[in-house]
Amino acid sequence: MEKKAQVEITFHWIYVLIAGAVILLFFIGIVVKQKATAEENLATDVVQILESIFTGASVSEQTKNFIDISSLVDYPLYFSCADGITEYGIEDLASIQNTVDTIFAPSELQAPQLILWSLPFQFPFKVMDFLLVTASNVKYVLVGDGVLFKDEFLDATYNAEERLHLDVEEASRLTLDTLKLGKAFHVRFIFLDGLPPQLPASVQEMDDDTISAVVFSSDGRAETAEYYEKKGTTFQKMAGKSQVSILSLGGERDAAKYAAIFAGTAEMYGCTMQKAWQRLGYLLAVYNAKLVSLQDYYATFYEEESPFPERDCRRFYREEGIENNFAALLEQFRRQLRGCRELALNCASLQQTAAQIETTNQQAAGECLALY
């Protein structure tokens, strides 16, 4: 009897221990699961907030936004674009895909401050705002003697308040070797007058991943940007696609050219520009419809043939008007755009037509209603 009681007490304690362990495991499981979920939720929230910030920043034309992300300094943000889809987020934790916005950014950023710069892309009318993304610890070094663009870019990126300007430095081929680059997360060289024969001595010791270059060149008609990366002690063309055409109408704050500086790779630039061409195609439908309304407006305005055809506003809008009338140019633009969307190499022809539309618009605006 006594022995049976002893066994029962031992069994009772084992039973209590097992039950206690199961209960403990149950709560530990919940805590672990909650922790993982909370981390995932936090990353998702951060990416969603980033998306909202990007939306706000991209529509605020010509503005620079400096976003404090010091709490994310341990998490690398990544940006990529393939098949017309931009993907960005926190590596291995959360990401978001975007098929509409034109975001030009380095492939990776890890910084206490994010810089977002919105520039309108006019080709020739406003197509959309390009969002240029960079960080406070990304350094841009402009190299090119006597090139006007250098001064313009320096002026565009400078702000008297130190915390509100991009880290941009100018250099000449002579001063390249003695550059002080500090502790930049990434250094992007912008060569405006060709690639130097050898890698600057100032960067030879730096990690390959931290150095890249974009070389602008022009044959007088079209401008190209070629992307390079550091490989040991030389600059080598980036793997895969390394060259892109810059299609723009020039002028100050040239969004297409600025975007080439901020895009991490030629692949990203080309892929993101395809989104701009897609939008341009849709906008063209709106301007075609507006052209019809302008044609109707002037048809009722004049009613019959004007005795002064050289002052007749209809000449800008009708097929039978001036040589570079809107009707002919928009149709040509539409056809070229279709070709461009099929094959990126065909996009070069767009530039001339865009320039012609711009000229006709300026002529029309002087005496009649402009198209845009």
Partner: protein, 165 residues
């Protein structure tokens, strides 16, 4: 033995209460989050519409804030341009429809002219109408914009953006 079963029963009842309480809490938190997201989407959609190149006023490449061009608005409505158009190329129409859907998602965008001279019975311009089938909640947002009628005549207009969930 009966005592042990009673203790276990009460323990599991307590666990069950805990789970029910947690589920209720999560449900209300989820509801709150959904509402917050809907409001955020309403604001973002309004922002996107206000700066839409398809609608904004432009003159010699300069754009005017909070201003829509009547000719563009009419072009968008007549051609149903934000919803794929009325063309014959259904592939392009579908692509366009998908494109604008990824900008606005399930939403309705209307512009109503508010000019004193305007007839009160004037129909609003419906630029985009894509309500969520069997939606449970809608969030309307309003904004006053200028409606520019060539040549250089402006009207007041109300922009209404409704998003659904």
């Amino acid at each position: 033995m009966t005592e042990t079963i009673a203790v276990l029963f009460i323990f599991f009842i307590l666990i069950l209460f805990g789970l029910i309480f947690y589920a209720q809490f999560q449900k209300s938190a989820f509801k709150e989050k959904a509402e917050e997201l809907l409001q955020k989407r309403a604001t973002e959609t309004m922002l996107k519409v206000l700066f839409l190149p398809e609608l904004i006023c432009s003159e010699r490449s300069l754009t005017e804030d909070n201003c829509f061009e009547l000719a563009k608005v009419q072009a968008v409505v007549d051609g149903n341009l934000l919803e794929g158009g009325r063309g014959v190329d259904t592939e392009i129409d579908q692509e366009k429809r998908d494109y604008y859907f990824s900008i606005f998602s399930y939403a309705t965008i209307k512009v109503q002219q508010l000019s004193v001279a305007a007839d009160e019975n004037d129909e609003p311009y419906v630029l985009y109408d894509h309500p969520l089938p069997k939606f449970t909640k809608s969030e309307p947002t309003f904004f006053v914009v200028a409606l520019k009628e060539a040549p250089d005549t402006y009207h007041f207009a109300s922009l209404a953006v409704t998003v659904y969930s």
